[in-house]
Amino acid sequence: MSLRSPLGRVLGTGSAKDGTGHWWAQRVSSVALIPLTLWFFYSLMMLPDLDYSTVKAWLALPISSFLAVLSVTVVTHHSYLGTTVVVEDYVHGAGVKVVTLMGLRFLYVLFGGASIFAILRVAFGT
């Protein structure tokens, strides 16, 4: 006999209320990050120099700026999912937890947004 309600069974959710959504998003983003981060690392290492004009010319290429925006977006999301679990595990007390999680989310949007804005500025000029 199952103790789950018919509605709960259909929604596939437990006490966490979001089912496997968080877990699955973490896996999907991790798979996407394998090629994206390797591309980023490899591209930087293959540049003849890391001075301003070389790096700017590289990032201004459409393929570079496009992949860089994707990388920053996915890495920010993946990192947010991960550190959220860390906060949920170690920060106790409902009030502190909610404030910390909200602050964390704001910070990710801030730094992710700043990174994307910077890439677009390099790509499309001032």
Binding site: S30, L38, M45, Y52, G82, V86, F111, A114, S115, V122
Partner: protein, 130 residues
């Protein structure tokens, strides 16, 4: 609600320290370190968008002793988190649970991350001192 001292289930301190839990903890630690790396990445990209002076300032910071140690640390964290993350994906798919497989893949993650970090360091050194 009054807080009462309740009996707690055994926690970390009663278990023998071994490679499995060490690498699991290291995965989380490197993940948190890489989250801080996002700030460094955002700063680097913003400095690039800000023009040559701000970019050169950021690069001076990253080329300083503290900056180089941080970059080397983030490189190791990234390589380890990547390799151990692949290990986790194999587990999620249902493979690699045998004791021998776990230990072998664990050592590959640690030693592979060290080797890749040294490799990146050598390429970076060669680029800076041709």
């Amino acid at each position: 609600m009054p807080v009462r001292a309740r009996p707690l289930s055994p926690h970390l301190q009663v278990y023998r320290w071994q490679i499995g839990n060490t690498l699991s903890i290291l995965h989380r630690l490197t993940g948190v370190a890489l989250a801080l790396g996002i700030v460094a990445l955002a700063y680097w990209l913003m400095s690039l968008a800000g023009g040559e002076d701000s970019y050169d300032g950021a690069m001076r910071l990253y080329a300083s002793p503290v900056g180089l140690v941080a970059l080397a640390g983030w490189t190791f964290c990234f390589m380890y988190h990547l390799l151990n993350g692949v290990r986790h994906l194999f587990w999620d798919a249902g493979y690699g649970f045998e004791r021998r497989q776990r230990h072998t893949s664990g050592w590959i993650a640690v030693l592979g991350a060290l080797a890749l970090t040294i490799g990146v360091g050598l390429v970076a050194w060669h680029g800076a001192h041709p």
